[in-house]
Amino acid sequence: MLSAHTLGCIRGERRLFAGIDLAVEPGQCLHVRGENGVGKTSLLRILAGLAAPAEGSVAWRGQPVARVVDDYHQNLLFLGHHNALKEDLTALENLMFAAGLDGATLTEDEATGALRRFGLRGREDLPVRCLSAGQKRRVLLARLLTRKAPLWILDEPFAALDTGAVQALADLIAEHLAIGGMTVMTSHQAIPLNNVRSLQL
């Protein structure tokens, strides 16, 4: 499980937030809310370990993250603002290489299956630059399916998705929670899920 204690973040001269306590247990989803610029993305980046907090600490299974970095990264999937897709590679290649970077094994069939589940049938072999913004996001969602990490940290996962894909993603998160996964996400929309706790920044 993931927990954080009295997290604070300072950007330049400005204090974004301070004294944030949170805990996410298996099967739970934490929805981080707040206006633009209050530091939602900064909070997620601190939780993922990409940025250091100005104060406070993040713990994974009761241990400070810095001490269990390998174990933490093994169990974490972070999807940020940037979609980390290579425009010149096909959707399938992107998925395969993303798995390769994680040191995971992924067969081509699994990858194709994941892409099809998100409505990219017939587009597996197109360069990603030929896909629309929403379709690119769908490639990322396929990554959620193939990575098999218990903890998902998602920054605006619903952005640029059509209603069908929003529902598909919500179903995917619900499945993930049902098997004991954890999710921390930001979203400006209401999340069509049970078992969601909110954190207002």
Binding site: H73, H81, A84, K86, L89, L101
Partner: protein, 221 residues
């Protein structure tokens, strides 16, 4: 090691899909080093004397052209973040990127060097030493360059800064690389220079991925 091979394969595939970037650096090398024989004329003694220096400087500059792209695209599209969060050590993945950069920007220079050397009327033995020196030296260029490329990530006008940062660090490689050929021409043993190049390579292999990794962590924070 599997992740290392994956990164190399990925970067080679990307280079294949963007051939123009790679080819322009190669053509730059060929053209710059061909301008000298054309400009100086058929004075073979002079050409032979300047050949190693000119070819090495052209190789340095042509490697520089590819350096900026080494991490810039991965930084812009968030791939570096994903690499930093990978269970695999970041230094290993960065090592893969450096290796791919050398395969794309360094190795072709080594292969082309004998052809360029012929324009300067170098003898067969001198060409051999030149190729050997480049084979040892170009990986050093990629390794040192990766540190500069990572340090200038996200900096506006990073290209010029990168050259100012990296070119001075290339000086030892340049001196020993061209020195090896000069030593052979002067009738001495080129082994000492080649050994020093080898030592630079070992040092680079040991320190550069680590320094690059540290710089990348700063850049993505």
């Amino acid at each position: 090691m599997k992740a290392f091979a994956f990164v190399v394969r990925r970067d080679l595939l990307l280079a294949m899909r963007r051939k123009s970037d790679v080819l322009s650096a190669l053509f730059f090398f060929v053209i710059v080093s061909s301008l000298f024989p054309l400009g100086i004329g058929a004075e073979t003694a002079l050409l032979r004397k300047i050949a190693p220096g000119v070819i090495w400087v052209a190789a340095l500059l042509s490697t520089m052209l590819g350096l900026q792209r080494m991490f810039a695209a991965d930084h812009a599209d968030g791939t570096l973040e994903q690499m930093a969060l990978s269970p695999e050590p970041l230094a290993l993945l960065v090592g893969g990127k450096i290796a791919a950069h050398w395969l794309v920007c360094g190795l072709p220079l080594v292969a082309l060097a004998p052809l360029i050397g012929l324009q300067f009327d170098l003898s067969g033995a001198e060409l051999g030493i030149l190729v050997l020196a480049l084979l040892l030296g170009t990986p050093v260029l990629s390794l040192i360059g990766s540190v500069g490329a990572a340090l200038t990530l996200g900096v506006r006008g990073g290209g010029v800064l990168l050259s100012l940062l990296v070119l001075p660090l290339y000086i030892p490689t340049l001196i020993f690389g061209s020195g090896a050929v000069y030593a052979h021409t002067a009738g001495q043993d080129a082994g000492a220079h080649l050994s020093l190049l080898g030592a630079l390579l070992v040092l680079g292999l040991f320190f550069a991925p680590w320094a690059t990794t540290a710089a990348i962590r700063i850049a993505i924070e």
